[in-house]
């Protein structure tokens, strides 16, 4: 582990701020081959590319030794627990932006930079926490962000660069904006509130008045303690009445500098560009202009890098159980979640007690994010090795609901309903059955066993192999847990492999848009229709059955009268004999 040194300089980039800027500042753009919206990804890449190169250029005297891009957590944060309406005024990300998050994260990795985020925390909190740690080690920081909320971090050895204005923030800028020096910014913000984040503040008090008050009393707490001294009647009254609001606001605007971060500072060490990785990404995204500027700086790609060879090897890897793991301890799930987050994709399969998703209980869940590697989490088996269902679901819920990580399934509508019944709403879903359907409707069936055989040349373990048949048939929950692991992990493994394969085929065949526009959105819509169901009039059906029965008997009587003997009308053979032999109606039309 390399130690952080005094002359190290960390560049911490507020990635989330960049995303929205890239999205709103640039015209929408879509990938030609499949219509994927890519405007924000493209803008983000250009900005990151420029920033990285500018920071490394000789005209910059404080070059980075460490570099990291930091993102908001996709879901609600701890601030919503403090104040329900925090950022409640913000609309959800636009439809054509949401699918781009995943690629933005990937673009950071493509530049060989760490992409950092943490559940429940905003990028600002992570930055504050890292700044704290970096300063403790005696090193220096440059924060790159146009967000005024980060100004409270301004202090010795911390620079803030505003990429929008192309300049470094000075103490003067802060005084101009908040009327106080950087160490009092929080107190002013707590009083004045912030309409863009829905931070309430104290009604009727703006930044100007707030600054005046804070300058006089020093801190918010001191001001609130001495509120009765204020001369202006109205101001005194609102301050006393809204004391709680001010204090809550302070908790909202204060950045957390002790977030439970899981990345070490030395992981941010600036690495050289991996040309193959970067070019491959830019090529896949069809960013041709960026690709050529990257090549002009970093040089031509190395011919057939070792990595590609690895990939080729990987592809040839046949399916085997070697890397199928049974989860024995709930904490083992963490590394699988981390894999999924890093890759941005995870194949998910549920094992259940019933084929009816509306009545199915979860027996186990399998995951796979790396080709050939899969795990099985048993939660409903009749075995001691089973993990506690609720704790497992609680652990998986954030991953399964995270819109930036793709959940890949084979007929995932089934899993969607099962999870929904267990309090989890899958987000960002992909379905290999539907991909196959778009590619090969009319050519073959689209169930997993068929697909594995056609596309992976692999015979899967069948459900029957596992539970037996006839009298010896057992329930899935009674299946030996090791065997269940092999079966379920294989399903996730096969699904993940099929996904990779189909994704490429859809692009090559230029029919990705059918899958994206006409199949994917239908999954959730139909799932909810199925969950809703429809009411049936049971009594009416009973009388209807009686009515039908009477009608049937009546026809039967007439038929027997004609045939002069009784026979089974349902049997085409007997019916035929009667018609042709007994009644001699040779040319009778079939109905």
């Amino acid at each position: 582990m390399s130690k952080i040194q005094k002359n190290d300089h960390f560049y911490l980039i507020d990635g989330s701020g960049y995303i929205f800027r890239a999205y709103y500042a640039l015209p929408p753009l879509t990938r030609k081959s499949d219509g994927l919206p890519t405007g924000a990804v493209s803008g983000f890449c250009s900005m990151l590319f420029k920033l990285l190169e500018d920071s490394k250029s000789d005209s910059n005297l404080q070059k980075p030794t460490h570099f990291a891009v930091i993102f908001d957590s996709a879901r609600k944060t701890f601030r919503n627990e403090i104040y329900n309406d925090y950022k409640a005024n913000r609309a959800e990300a636009p439809d054509d932006l949401a699918p781009q998050f995943e690629y933005i994260r990937k673009s950071v990795l493509a530049f060989n930079l760490p992409s950092v985020e943490l559940l429940n925390y905003e990028a600002d909190d992570l930055i504050a926490t890292y700044v704290n740690q970096i300063l403790e080690k005696g090193a220096r920081v440059t924060i790159v962000s146009s967000d005024k909320d980060l100004m409270q971090l301004y202090k010795k050895n911390v620079r803030i660069y505003d990429p929008m204005k192309n300049k470094f923030i000075s103490e003067d800028d802060i005084t101009k904006k908040f009327g106080v020096s950087s160490n009092q910014v929080i107190d002013v913000q707590s009083l004045a509130g912030d309409s863009s984040d829905n931070v309430p503040g104290v009604p009727g008090i703006g930044v100007k008045t707030a600054a005046e008050l804070i300058k006089k009393y020093g801190t918010l707490e001191k001001l609130l303690d001495s509120a009765d001294e204020i001369k202006q009647n109205k101001r005194r009254q609102t301050l006393i009445e809204n004391k709680d609001k001010a204090l809550v606001s302070k908790r909202l605007v204060t950045l957390k500098n002790d977030a439970p971060i899981d990345r070490n500072l030395d992981e941010f060490k600036l690495k050289e560009i991996d040309k193959d990785k970067l070019y491959k990404f830019l090529r896949e995204m069809e960013f041709n202009r960026l690709l050529s500027s990257a090549i002009s700086i970093y040089g031509e790609p190395d011919f057939l890098a070792i990595k590609d060879q690895n990939e080729i090897k990987e592809k040839k890897n046949s399916i085997n159980k070697k890397e199928y793991y049974l989860i024995n301890n709930i904490d083992e799930i963490d590394s699988w979640i981390k894999d999924a987050e890093e890759v941005g994709e995870v194949a998910v399969d549920t094992e259940t007690s019933s084929l009816d998703p509306h009545q199915a209980n979860l027996i186990g869940i399998s995951l796979s994010s790396v080709l050939g590697k899969a795990c099985y989490i048993p939660i409903g088996h009749k075995s001691e090795k089973c993990l506690d269902k609720n704790s497992v679901l609680k652990k998986l819920k954030p991953l399964l609901e995270d819109p930036s990580i793709k959940k890949i399934g084979q007929n995932i509508k089934f899993d969607f309903i099962v999870f929904f019944k267990h309090g989890i709403e899958l987000n960002s879903i992909e379905d290999t059955m539907l991909m196959s359907y778009v590619l090969d409707a009319g050519r073959n069936r689209h169930n997993m066993d068929t697909l594995a055989e056609i596309h992976l040349d692999h015979k899967t373990i069948t459900f029957k192999d596992l539970v037996g048949s006839g009298k010896k048939e057992i329930k899935f929950s009674e299946v030996n847990i090791e065997k269940a692991k092999d079966y379920a992990a294989e399903d996730a493994d096969v699904t993940f492999r099929l996904y990779k394969k189909f994704k490429k085929s859809l692009q090559i065949e230029k029919i990705s848009h059918i899958y994206e526009i006409f199949e994917k959105p239908m999954i959730k819509i139909l799932a909810f229709m199925e969950i809703e169901g429809i009411k049936i009039d049971n009594k009416f059906l009973k009388t209807l059955s009686l009515k039908f029965q009477k009608k049937i008997e009546k026809i039967q009587k007439e038929v027997f009268k004609l045939s002069k003997k009784k026979f089974n009308i349902a049997s085409p053979k007997q019916l035929g004999e009667i018609i042709y032999n007994d009644l001699k109606i040779a040319n009778l039309k079939k109905n």
Partner: protein, 307 residues
Amino acid sequence: MDWRQLSKLKNTYSDTLPEHINPITKRVHTSFLLAATTTGRLASSDPNLQNIPIKSDDGKDIRKAFIAEKDHILISADYNQIEMRILADLADVKELKKAFKNNEDIHSLTASQIFDVDLKKVSEDQRRKAKAINFGIIYGISQYGLAKQINVSNFEAEEFLNAYFGKFPEIKVYMDETIKFCRKSGFVNNIFGRRSHFISINDKNYNVRNFQERAAINAPIQGSASEIMRLAMIRLSKKLKEQKIQNTKMLLQIHDELIFETPKNESKRISKIIIEEMTSVAKSDQHSFSIPLTVDINIGDNWGTLQ
């Protein structure tokens, strides 16, 4: 045969539907199959709701068992003659397009064309025959099939078809081109670009080949109709979400028909939204139709009264 149909209805619906009632929700949760056809059309199972006969009174009786909750009502929204409209658009049939734009009765128009009579003088019988031909074309019917359908000799049926193709030459071109394309590539495209494969289109056996050819002619028409329905469902679900309408639910899709359940006092407002969204699919980023799409709305306590 009545007997066969009745016992099938009794076995698959009136006797068994109650078995599908979920003990907790007390409702029937059918399963929609996205990948069970070759055209993009949905199928459904447990129970299969897309197979209840439309025309017979007995089938209607089965539908009456599907009801709305108390103080609620069912809305059915049905695309009017969607497949004929698609054929007109897909094959660029000038006469049909004109008729749809002018909101004319398409079967009467067809009759007046092939029987060479004034539009106002078309008889019921002529209209019925024209209708059978129109539907026959969509499903790729042969002259023999048509002869049986409308109870005329094979010779007469052939004459009708010749007259039909004479008046709508674009349809003949469409059929020939589609088969030619399919023979070469093994698949056909619908309007939106979805492919349906027909692997036995070049089979040595005439019957197999013929069957595939008819299916290949039908697939782009049926498939495009299904795509339109999918787009409509996506639009509607988005709209309901945007307008925060939570007490109206989309329940069923049966080919060209959507069933909604909504509080009684909301039915007017909701119907308006449904019509608006379903007809607006005629113009989308994916395809702009040259003719309008129209939607018929029916409202009632049960599905049987909606037809």
